[in-house]
Symmetry: C2
Subunit: 453 residues, 2 copies
């Protein structure tokens, strides 16, 4: 077996890249690590703009910020794509309490889920706990009717990739209100989709369904979920909820687009992140990191005087969090530009952590090309080059352009759900070097695709 492994290692270290490729990629990394602008750009997005939910004044400011940044870096074209987006607001009243039969009261940390209706004053109901969405689905109407459902489904920390743990709980947030309402519940509160047991609630989008009543939905912190669960093991309790969040009519908004024009100007490589965030924290990892990753990647390629073969089109997508209208409208608009030939899309929306590699949603041949880049990234500590998901914003491109490969940047996932959609997703929780290494990895990958497609 030893002999076999030595052969394989020998083959893998034989790369087909030129000295020029290696030198250019080293320049990309040097620029990102020693003269990078990503960290300060992220600070500006987080502190000068802040949380920027779709339809808010902050989102408008973020559009201006993005356009101005792209212009200041001298990209060949900078423009806005008008789109129509949903508009939900949290409002100003948002609180919840647990109350036992002797009126012992404890306030909990909660956030309304995105899209939820308000409570129209205060509502109160007996709490009924389910350990999972599946358990709730099996319950009977007589047990649930008139009560407030508490779904205490724990993210499975045994998954190595935290996104798998998230995927397992995602339906709780998306469908919890519909399932609880089917059984006559008056509201639903869920355990936050976060891994640590701490005081931060995590919001995120939820859905209603026209066939059942809409009921208010909120997420409580994992620590409150643990405590309430202990409480309910000893005695009954009521939950008191007040929220004045609501949905408003759709409004106008924009994707922000910047380009370096390619020698083959109509061959398009689209890449970017999403400019909107939830309305808590600062959207630093989600997806401020993706915005500055991709902004910095294009800035570095331009600074190194790179002349792309294909047009490198950077898109700051609006409304990933609660509608994906930016992604949908971009794909439709791109399809309407009949001269354009869309050859690849790449997205960063998994946080600003140390890079591990790239996933691709593509054919075996396309994935083999991605995998063939692995040797050149070995010295940069990247090792994942395999089949996987591209990203929410770029996913509609698959409908518009059959066979387009979609590439997702893969940073280390261990800490992502400490911060995701919570007040804790702030600039201070992004590490400068980890962020910069992501910018360099993305710039290098864009370069390699541009050279090889």
């Amino acid at each position: 077996m030893k002999f076999l492994y030595l052969i394989i290692l020998g083959l893998l270290t034989t790369s087909s890249f030129s000295q020029n490729d290696s030198t250019f990629i080293r320049s990309i990394y040097n620029t990102a690590l020693s003269e990078g602008k990503a960290y300060n750009d992220l600070k500006s997005l987080c502190k000068d703009i802040g949380a920027r939910i779709t339809g808010s004044a902050e989102a408008e400011m973020a559009i201006l910020w993005g356009k101005q940044k792209m212009e200041s870096y001298g990209f060949d074209k900078v423009y806005l794509q008008e789109i129509t987006v949903p508009h939900w607001e949290r409002g100003t009243k948002e609180a919840g309490w647990v109350k036992d039969e002797y009126n012992s009261i404890k306030k909990v940390n909660l956030l309304a889920l995105g899209g939820s209706i308000g409570t129209n004053g205060t509502i109160e109901g007996e709490l009924i706990e389910f350990s999972s969405l599946e358990e709730l689905k099996k319950a009977s109407k007589k047990d649930v009717e008139g009560k407030i459902v508490f779904i205490n489904q724990v993210m499975d920390e045994k998954h190595i990739q935290t996104f798998k743990a998230y995927g397992g709980c995602y339906p709780v947030r998306g469908s919890g209100a519909v399932e609880a309402s089917k059984l006559g519940a008056i509201a639903v509160i869920i355990r936050s989709l976060g891994i640590p047991v701490d005081e931060h609630p995590h919001t995120g989008v939820m859905q209603y369904n026209d066939s059942v009543n809409k009921i208010p939905a909120a997420a409580i912190s994992t620590l409150d979920a643990e405590n309430i669960s202990l409480w309910l093991k000893k005695e009954k309790a009521n939950f008191v909820l007040e929220m004045d969040c609501r949905n408003y009519p759709d409004v106008k908004s924009y994707n922000v687009i910047g380009e370096l024009t390619g020698k083959n100007a109509n061959n398009i490589i689209t890449f970017g992140g999403h400019l909107d965030s939830w309305d808590t924290g600062e959207g630093a990892h989600d997806d401020g990191a993706g915005i500055v990753h991709t902004l910095e990647a294009l800035r570095i390629l331009k600074e190194l005087n790179y002349k792309p073969n294909n047009t490198l089109r950077l898109v700051f997508f609006m409304n990933e969090e609660n509608g994906n209208r930016g992604g949908q409208d971009y794909a439709a608009w791109a399809k309407s530009r009949t001269k354009e030939n869309h050859i690849l899309a790449l997205e960063s929306d998994r946080g600003g952590f140390a890079p591990r590699g790239f996933n691709m949603d593509g054919t075996p041949e396309q994935i083999a090309m991605l995998a063939s880049f692995a040797p050149i990234f070995k010295e940069y500590d990247l090792h994942i080059f395999e089949k996987g998901y591209g990203g929410v914003d770029i996913s509609p491109l698959k409908e518009s352009f059959e066979g387009i490969p979609l590439v997702g940047f893969v940073p280390d996932s261990q800490r992502y759900f400490d911060f995701h959609h919570s007040p804790n997703d702030v600039f201070e929780n992004v590490n400068k070097r980890e962020l910069e290494l992501g910018c360099a990895a993305i710039a290098a990958m864009l370069y390699l695709f541009d050279q090889n497609l």
Copy 2:
């Protein structure tokens, strides 16, 4: 080329491990991630004991703590190995100021370097800056004599592995005092060996040399270094330094040892981390993480009822930071036990970050065995299985046992020098999942070596 890569990928995913191996390693990870004790053990070491420099009361308490932990986990043998260690104390006075000719004064954040003499009251001298140790070596005595040397050597952030950047600056801390003294300087201050520009000074060991006068040595924060450098570009300045640190006679101390006895009891696999730390912060990453990584690895193997082929000997080494007497005395003691056959040693001393793999100081055949374990770790996101350094504590074993392979655990290095040897190396800066994944990786690697050696 595509075809070739598909073949290689095919070969790499064909592993020679049994289903039992895979199942057992999955159990290790499940235990670490869902019923782990490492995070709470680290909290206890950091908060109940705190910083624990060799020779201090805290170091004594840490020895008790370690012995008690090992006993509480029911290892087959738990005992202390008596050793003699150096004893240096920071004392109570430690401060520095920059002062210009108009007596404008600015206090700086500094830490005496470990082993430095004190100032015997306050000393003051004109500051003379050098951008590197090499530049200092080229200076002339007339420029330096009677002054305080400031070595402002920046860690090269362009290195992908931060330990390489550290290696480049290590001689500044180790030899700065000797080189400055050769030219008649009265003290030396160095820019801290830390990557971020922030307010935390980073201490660490320094050396004197009998051929030149001993002068006091301290590290200032990277932020102060940047500011002083700007100041000195405009005008001259003095530095005022007071430190009452000093060296005391050697004292008695201990390595703490716990074992699971193997079927071949005299075949020994030694593994561990170092129990001492610097006397600032809490020694959380350096090397509380290594202590709980290896403690938890043995606890998990025992909890899973694993009966090792070889004796698994866990050593909490004392005095890695300023002498390595624990490592040296352990190696000498092991050699004196003539019936013992030392087959491998493994160390964790690079922080509690997400695992990337393992390095080995060994023969090509030994390294090929390490590399042959790579496929089984793929699903756990580890990818480094190659030649490299083992660790300071286990390095003396190489002299005692010719040909013994030394294995170093490799976590992600990006954030390590944000914390290393600074007040910032506290429990709160260790992530629970990242720590637990390290414990599991080490337990799995011990299992594989135990099965295959």
